[in-house]
């Protein structure tokens, strides 16, 4: 069982967005707060950290910190239907909160890619 279940359409969309922006094909799963209460899982175009767990999906390196992994378990990523491949739903074995997977999010372009 892979730690990250990446839908092939989502994989293609992520890779194409990274290439469009001239970024390396590596992303990190992060816990991100968009304000007022519930945080959510998101994708950041960022290089992996030293102790990250890394998985390769068809040429795309996906990193996740051990702490996040421990908190949420395995993560699945799918493309949001009407977002032109720019937004993704992230769900996990142990939902971060009651709104997990409700709203899609876009790739955060990190500072140190």
């Amino acid at each position: 069982m892979p730690m990250i279940r990446l839908d092939p359409v989502a994989c293609k969309a992520i890779k194409s967005e990274l290439s469009e922006k001239g970024l390396p094909l590596s992303v990190r799963i992060e816990i991100r707060s968009t304000g007022c209460c519930d945080a959510s899982l998101g994708i950041a175009a960022e290089a992996a950290e030293a102790d990250d767990l890394i998985e390769d999906a068809d040429g795309l390196a996906i990193a996740i910190s051990p702490a996040t992994r421990q908190l949420v378990g395995d993560v699945s990523i799918t493309c949001a239907g009407d977002s032109d491949g720019k937004e993704f739903f992230l769900e996990s074995d142990r939902p971060l909160n009651e709104w997990a997977g409700f709203a899609p999010s876009s790739i955060r372009i990190g500072a140190k890619t």
């Binding site: 304000g35 945080a39 996040t68 709203a103």
Partner: protein, 887 residues
């Protein structure tokens, strides 16, 4: 362990699928209650119960006052449950007891009573629209504010009780039914509030509370066709999705979302107050407050001192179990939130911010577990760091240095959010200047987290849509309906409906000529008594140079005696905005309460514009309006010195806008002067040329008033007699200017023609005259006279009867003529009259260049009065032909 059930249609029920979940005390990780977990079927039932309750009118149909009585009972039940609510809230949400114990009364019962009282006594449920802003048709218009219907309130876990009060209270006070979904980690107090409502007798189905998973229930609640409005408080990411879902059935949405508010500490702030205020602004409820001041912006001069003292203050906060009255800061709401907060602290460290205290979990003595985190301070933060841009929602503060006030504002505004913010300063004016520039929903000066039931709360930018609380918040729970009752229930009298008809004449009319007229030799003497009768005492006399030279201004000033406190005489022919502004300024300085104008149309129109500008404020350009005024204006007495414009009784003032290169019109029934004094001595000094020109202005008013699409029998009467008087008296007055009888008759004719056209309007001859007047300074009356006969012939097949009547008034024996022939002789007779008094007949003699005619025809076609012409004007080409005929 206690067990809580869903509250649907006035009953506490288990979930249809029997699901149950546990809720946990974040202070010690112990489960405190089991709760029925609503699923889609329960949401459906709750929505439909709310719908039935709303549609039945059992609540929505009550008067606001009747609803208020029930809400007061509800508030009393909340007070009865206050202690239970407070303890439950603390255990469920981790809120310190010192806050939760004041919530039921302070933020629940009082809020409900205050807003219900406001809704029943002060909220404008129905409002008359005194001015419709439609000058064409008439009617009564009013606004009704009506409840929305079924409202959904989705509430977060940080202030579950306060939010339940807000969502339930505002919705039901305004007559709606509501379905509330509390946060799954903090579901209990909303259910206790539901219990209070049941005991208070709020009807079944009006309030429904369904705890359950946001993701699954959210989809049902936000897409259900029977839901009319969603009010959500929570994360920006979820709010965005809710808005998208609501778009499917175009629900009204209000969103209270995230924030990253700036609390600005100026170098003149009271240091201890700023430290305490900043600590309260960020560590209250462990920073789990969306409008927290989590970016503290500190001016460089005091930065070092502030950091040192703030670190000490943060470290002095007592962290502990939330039910202990000695605790300053309790736990975070959950272990997931704890992980999120700690994750951001690690990000801050990696970004290079300086962690000066905190940054770690805290064990509370005697308690195993719990979600406690130390008050954390980052200094040396750059505003572009993630810890300065993303809302951490925990006790973590980012301190940013700035040099001057503008920089502070720029930093504060560099955020996708705009929810709250603060300024600490000993200079209120300086602080307010900053507060006005920050793009955010609330700014506190020398305070933080201060809420009030009547103070609106909500966000700029991605912090939200709409407002909660206060008038603005209540309005969000209503929709606006406009009801129009036509004054004339007759399709042919409806100007707009006439667009689909070939019959252009409008049979309806409203005759409103309110000016009192004092006429006759020596009528001037009445002026002082009129001032007194109008309740005035300080008169500005307005006139122009020509009138002063003719000795007329002095006559008026003497008649006014001590009432005259000033004279304004700098009025050019065809007045302009600047002149009105200068006169208004003088009137303001002299604290004038009445205007007496002595002059021709230029003076009278200036005075009219001064009257409205004095009354309504601003400059003349602010007061250019058409059917906007509904109150009496500054009292105005007119002594006309020309017998032409009729401005002494009309609703119009014509003011040149030199910048725009066109004439502006104020058209208001409230512009009609209060009194017109027709004293023939005031026109006797008019030279023959001006006598003829101004009389032809009056003649054109009369003829056009008879031939517009809005003509009517009363104005026809005035117009016809005015035509006869002008025809008979103009040649006499031109020959013998001192003939008092002829002068008085011409003055009466001008006034009558004024009454006629102010009701029935003017038409194409005026449109054409306005244009050559504006572009080539052709005097208004002269231009009117020149255009009039040609336009009469142009209209011959559309106003035959009226033109034939005019011929009779002009003394033509039409006995043996057919109507059309008679109508055409009217135009001939006007030309004969002009010839007999030496009135110009051609534009070329008045400085109009031939190659300018085409542009004139375009302008005239665009002049609104051409719309009233008897014969519809098909194209500028037709107008050009007419201009050529008089060239």
């Amino acid at each position: 362990m206690d067990h809580y059930k869903l509250f649907i249609n006035g009953e506490f029920v288990e979930a249809k699928d029997g699901k149950v979940f546990q809720t946990v005390d974040p202070g010690n990780d112990q489960p405190i209650a089991t709760v029925a977990q609503a699923g889609a079927a329960d949401a459906e039932e709750a929505i439909m119960a709310a719908r039935r309750a709303f549609d039945s009118g059992v609540w929505s149909g009550l008067t606001p006052a009747a609803r208020a009585q029930k809400v007061y009972d509800f508030a009393d039940q909340i007070n009865t449950q206050a202690l239970r609510l407070a303890i439950t809230e603390s255990m469920d949400a981790g809120q310190i007891i010192n806050f939760s114990k004041v919530t039921p009364l302070g933020f629940g019962a009082n809020m409900m009573k205050d807003l219900a009282n406001y809704a029943s006594f002060k909220f404008p449920w129905e409002e008359e629209i005194k001015v419709q802003g439609n000058p064409f048709d008439f009617g009564r218009d009013y606004i009704r504010r009506e409840p929305m219907g079924v409202c959904v309130g989705i509430i977060p876990w940080n202030f579950p009780m306060v939010m339940a009060f807000w969502k339930i209270g505002q919705a039901i006070i305004m007559g709606n039914s509501v379905v509330v979904k509390p946060a799954s980690v903090t579901p209990l107090t909303a259910l206790i509030i539901a219990e209070a409502s049941k005991i208070a007798g709020i009807p079944k189905g009006v309030i429904n509370v369904i705890p359950g998973p946001g993701g699954a229930l959210g989809k049902v609640l936000c897409t259900h066709p029977e839901v009319d409005k969603i009010s959500f408080t929570g994360s920006t990411e979820v709010g965005r999705e809710i808005m998208r879902m609501a778009a499917g059935t175009v629900k009204k949405v209000t969103l209270e979302l995230g924030g990253k508010s700036a609390n600005i500490i100026l170098d003149d702030a009271d240091m201890q107050h700023a430290i305490d205020g900043s600590a309260f602004g960020t560590y209250f409820h462990a920073g789990q407050v969306c409008e927290s001041g989590t970016r503290i912006l500190v001016q460089s001069k005091i930065y070092g001192e502030f950091i040192e003292k703030f670190k000490k203050r943060a470290e002095s906060l007592r962290i502990g179990y939330q039910l202990l009255p000695t605790t300053h800061m309790g736990p975070l709401v959950s272990h997931e939130q704890l992980a999120t907060v700690d994750g951001y602290v690690q990000i801050g460290k990696k970004e290079g911010a300086e962690l000066i205290t905190g940054g770690k979990r805290v064990e509370v003595e005697g308690i195993k577990g719990g979600c406690y985190y130390a008050p954390t301070v980052f200094a040396g933060v750059r505003n572009d760091m993630r810890i300065a841009q993303e809302e951490i929602f925990g006790p973590v503060v980012s301190i940013i240095k700035f040099d001057d006030d503008d920089e502070a504002v720029a930093i504060a505004n560099k955020s996708i959010y705009g929810l709250g913010g603060g300024v600490f300063s000993s200079n209120t004016a300086r602080a307010e200047k900053i507060a006005r520039k920050v793009r955010t929903g609330t700014m506190w000066i020398n305070n933080y987290h201060y809420f009030g039931h009547f103070c609106p709360f909500g966000g700029y930018k991605q912090s939200g849509v709409g407002r909660e609380l206060g008038h603005a918040g209540l309005e969000e729970y209503t929709q606006v309906k406009r009801i129009h009752v036509a004054s004339f229930a007759h399709s042919e009298s409806n100007y707009t409906m006439a667009i689909l008809s070939d019959k252009k004449e409008l049979p309806k009319y409203i005759y409103n000529c309110p000016t009192k007229i004092n006429a006759g030799h020596g009528a001037l003497s009445s002026v002082a008594k009129e001032v007194v009768d109008l309740g005035c005492a300080r008169v500005l006399l307005m006139t122009d140079e020509g009138i002063i030279k003719a000795g007329l201004a002095k006559l008026a000033q003497d008649a006014l005696s001590d009432f005259c406190v000033g004279v304004f005489d700098n009025i050019p022919q065809d007045t302009d905005l600047e002149t009105v502004d200068a006169a208004t300024e003088m009137a303001r300085q002299l604290r004038v309460d009445c205007i007496v104008s002595v002059g021709g149309g230029s003076v009278i129109d200036t005075a009219k514009a001064v009257c409205v500008t004095l009354k309504n404020g601003g400059c003349c350009n602010d007061n250019i309006s058409w059917a906007r005024l509904h109150e009496p204006q500054t009292p105005h007495i007119v002594i006309p010195t020309t017998a032409g414009t009729g401005s002494e009784v009309t609703w119009a003032a014509v003011i040149k806008n030199k910048v725009a290169g066109r004439k502006s019109y104020i058209i208001e029934s409230r512009l009609a002067p209060n009194v017109a004094i027709l004293d023939p001595r005031f026109t006797m000094t008019l030279p023959p040329g001006l006598t003829a020109a101004t009389a032809m202005d009056a003649m054109t008013h009369a003829v056009e008033a008879l031939t517009t699409i809005t003509t009517n029998p009363i104005s026809d009467g005035h117009a016809l007699h005015a035509i006869r008087l002008i025809k008979e008296n103009l040649p006499i007055a031109v020959k013998d200017g001192k003939n008092e009888a002829a002068r008085l008759n011409l003055a009466a004719a001008s006034t009558m023609a004024g009454c006629a056209f102010t009701i029935s309007f003017v038409a194409l001859a005026h449109a054409m005259a306005h244009t050559v007047g504006m572009l080539y300074n052709v005097p208004h009356g002269v231009a009117c006279g020149i255009m009039l006969p040609k336009v009469m012939r142009f209209n011959v097949d559309h106003a035959t009867d009226k033109l034939a009547l005019i011929a009779l008034q002009l003394g033509v024996n039409t006995f043996k003529m057919d109507k059309r022939q008679a109508a055409l002789t009217a135009a001939d007779e006007i030309e004969n009259l002009m010839k007999s008094v030496g009135h110009p007949l051609r534009l070329r003699d008045l400085g109009v260049p031939e190659d300018g005619l085409e542009a004139c025809s375009m302008h005239a076609a665009g002049d609104p009065v051409s719309l009233y012409n008897a014969r519809p004007v098909a194209s500028p080409q037709e107008i050009l032909e007419l201009y050529k005929q008089v060239y």
